[in-house]
Symmetry: C2
Subunit: 241 residues, 2 copies
């Protein structure tokens, strides 16, 4: 948006110049960017400066690298709407021209630890469903999610059905209707498990979203923790006043 | 939440162990953590492992360093609510026991570039108010914000009044009532200007929030870009179904 960035370190200016060329459509999604050497010449700066600029653009998700092939322009980030209207993941992605899919990695019954017992008003050791899923856009992993549900209210949870919509399963199979969710969004550096699940580097900046889903009687029916790739996701929040 | 992290790299396990001690209240806000050497002994790991774990905890905002003094436990992150109810910044912070303040860094009239002209349906070169502000909690900078408003609709904007609430100024002085906002939240690595404004390191992971504020006739009255410190802010989103 701004033009006068005179005081900025060189690599920020190079980064912004490349970003503007991407935003203006000079460099289009999935096409290859000029080489580092070409950028050095174009901007009259050192290799290190160009490399730092490209690294930052990669972390922010504007470009990606292919081993031995160079740097390419990323597709637009996937928008996830955070509003009072629930549109589920698949609908949102379809609108953006992406092929959505959800994969269940694991579904098991575990024993509540102190923290789960407190969330669900259970005794420590009581059974809890633990559901691990990955959501993809066009085969690219976007979010890794671990959800917990009290087992007594959701016995015999069907893993396959959780590959469409968990909330629909809760409503149709268990007559459990989510009335409200409270979510906490914060910064999270990928640990090695999340990095593996999301095919990103250890320590890459991500979003962590904790969700508490409430029934109409104010009890919590689901607690989940979701890690979103920081380079591929963009949240949209609409508020009416 | 999880206990079995057997496959995790050592520094992730050390990080998690320290984090649990913070979360359980063993290490309290603003108290000093054991030294790196003490952690090495406690966990039987190398200095590098402890250092990596502490660095990641600092980026995520759980601890902070004081030059020559060591590592301290951070205060809780500041919660910013993103919901359909508008509670303004000052009210939210007061509830969390923090002293809020807003400082106007600069207010000037600039000429619309192509992008601002498009947003506000102006001609290129038309006058636009540019308002730069920093918001603080207990003297600690939390967010750096640059807002643009079409000058013809907001002439003689009073800088001092913008240190309380811009939306209140719009409503009381210009009879402009915000009806809806659309926000885009994404990951952003601090450039040197943002880093200086927020007293963080260049390249530190932050949140970038772009806001489009609409009047009831669907025209945009404000466009802003806000950088939030990734280590100090936590967003809360409530949705009713």
């Amino acid at each position: 948006m701004e033009t006068a960035k005179a005081g900025h370190a060189l690599h920020f200016r190079v980064k912004e110049a490349i970003l503007n060329l991407i935003k203006n459509g000079k460099y289009k999604p999935h096409t290859q960017l000029p080489t580092e050497a070409e950028f050095c010449k174009k901007f009259g700066v050192s290799r290190t400066t160009v490399r730092t600029a490209l690294q930052q653009l990669a972390i922010e998700g504007y470009v990606y690298r292919k081993q031995g092939k160079g740097t390419f322009v990323s597709d637009k980030k996937v928008k996830q709407t955070l509003t009072s209207t629930v549109e589920n993941f698949s609908e949102q992605l379809t609108v953006q021209g992406k092929q959505p899919s959800i994969k269940v990695i694991n579904l098991e019954v575990i024993q509540a630890d102190a923290s789960l017992a407190e969330i669900f008003h259970l005794e420590i050791g009581d059974p809890v469903n633990k559901l691990e899923r990955i959501r993809y856009a066009d085969q690219e992993p976007l979010q890794y999610e671990v959800a917990y549900l009290p087992w007594r209210k959701t016995p015999a949870l069907n893993a396959k059905a959780c590959e469409t919509s968990l909330y629909r399963v809760l409503e149709n199979h268990y007559q459990l209707k989510i009335k409200k969710t409270v979510e906490h969004l914060e910064l999270f550096l990928a640990d090695d498990h999340a990095a593996k699940m999301l095919q990103i580097k250890n320590g890459a900046p991500c979003f962590s979203l904790e969700t508490f889903a409430y029934l109409s009687d104010e009890t919590i029916i689901e607690y989940s923790q979701t890690i979103f790739r920081g380079d591929r996701v963009n949240f949209v929040i609409e508020r009416n006043y």
